[in-house]
Amino acid sequence: MSSRTSNVVFSNLGRDNPVFVQILGICSTLAVTNVLKNTLVMAIGLIFTTALSNFTVSLLRRFIPTRIRMMVSTLIIASWVIIVEIMLKAQVPEIARQLGPYVGLIITNCIIMGRAEAFAMQNTPGISLVDGLSSGVGYSWVLLLIAFFRELMGSGTVWGQVVLGSWWVKWSIMVMAPGAFFMLAIFIWIVKGRILVEKEASNGR
């Protein structure tokens, strides 16, 4: 892996993470993280569409008139999302049924548009694909972590399996949207207050 590639990958996973540093894709972070299973499928869908959209935008970047670049990006993103949705329905109907409207909502995920605007418009297709993939993974690990705690505390289960017995009083708020606000805020607080601060300080020296 070249240093450029590894730089892109690691910054998307960590110090430029789309969720807790760029604060993008928050709507889906709130919506899908109450059950791990849904979160994983959402994450896979997002990784797939971010990578493909980034790649396509980058391929066309020299031809796209600047004034309509948002329209073009939206068209590309929407097309990929619809294709992903159709493929899910055809190949894994059970999962597609559980996800319901979530897959279509990937279109509105700001991470995809953000990466297309900020990265794919200026870079070659190869590295844009890597950027899309790693942004998707950066989004995914944060969501899965949040989902793990929300499902555990809200339903007493992990991946639908009961782990906390009947002694556990389920925190219904964890399953609802406010629970996501709390979890995400606590997560951002820990990461920015503890981990990233030290890095910034050491960079400054």
Partner: protein, 199 residues
């Protein structure tokens, strides 16, 4: 002049690109249309047969044979399905009602007495995952078997065996109430819409 030609170029570019992507999406749609429709049909048939106590084959071909031999659709003003297995006859109704976020569409099976529930399946619902969506869990659906209603709700975990009660879901009062209404609605329908002797 330059500005105008730039504008035209932009419009042409967008139109062409739209055509290309619409073409791609349509192609994928047409290629998978039959598979998706077949998946939907299999899902519906499984859900319908799952409302009866019958055990049915899982392979698609056998399932379809089984279904076509035993299930009959009655296209009356209030349509219903009958499932005939030897001497046993079951009625299945499709009833829907408003949930918290959207319509809950339900299949409910009845014994030939048109009173006792033999099973319930939700074929479409968009309730909150982890709360209302738990109506799809098997303990929730199974508890309706044998009920004669009209049903009322008791708190989750009661494990009621009364024929007129069911355990609601904690934190999902709206959804539970919706299910209660759907079930009661079905109980009224089954006793009134299906004419005597018509099966």
């Amino acid at each position: 002049m330059g500005k105008a030609s730039m504008r035209i170029k932009t419009v042409v570019f967008m139109a062409l690109l739209s055509a290309v992507f619409i073409g791609a999406v349509s192609t994928v749609h047409l290629l998978t249309k039959d598979t998706i429709m077949r998946n939907e049909a299999v899902f519906f048939r499984k859900a319908l047969l799952g409302c009866t106590p019958l055990s049915f084959p899982t392979s698609i071909k056998e399932l379809n044979n089984f279904y076509e031999n035993k299930v009959k659709y009655h296209k009356t003003a209030n349509p219903y399905y009958t499932v005939r297995d030897g001497k046993n006859l079951f009625y299945v109704l499709k009833v829907s009602g408003p949930g918290l976020w959207g319509e809950i569409v339900t299949l409910i099976g009845f014994k030939s007495d048109k009173k006792t529930i033999t099973g319930i399946n939700f074929i479409s619902q968009s309730e909150t995952p982890g709360l209302g969506a738990r109506i799809s869990e098997s303990w929730f659906k199974k508890q309706f078997i044998g009920k004669t209603g009209p049903v009322t709700m008791v708190p989750e975990g009661t494990g009621t065996v009364a024929k007129t009660q069911f355990d609601a879901i904690t934190g999902a009062t709206v959804t539970s109430t919706a299910v209660k209404d759907i079930v009661n609605n079905a109980l009224v329908k089954i006793s009134t819409v299906i004419r005597k002797g018509s099966d």
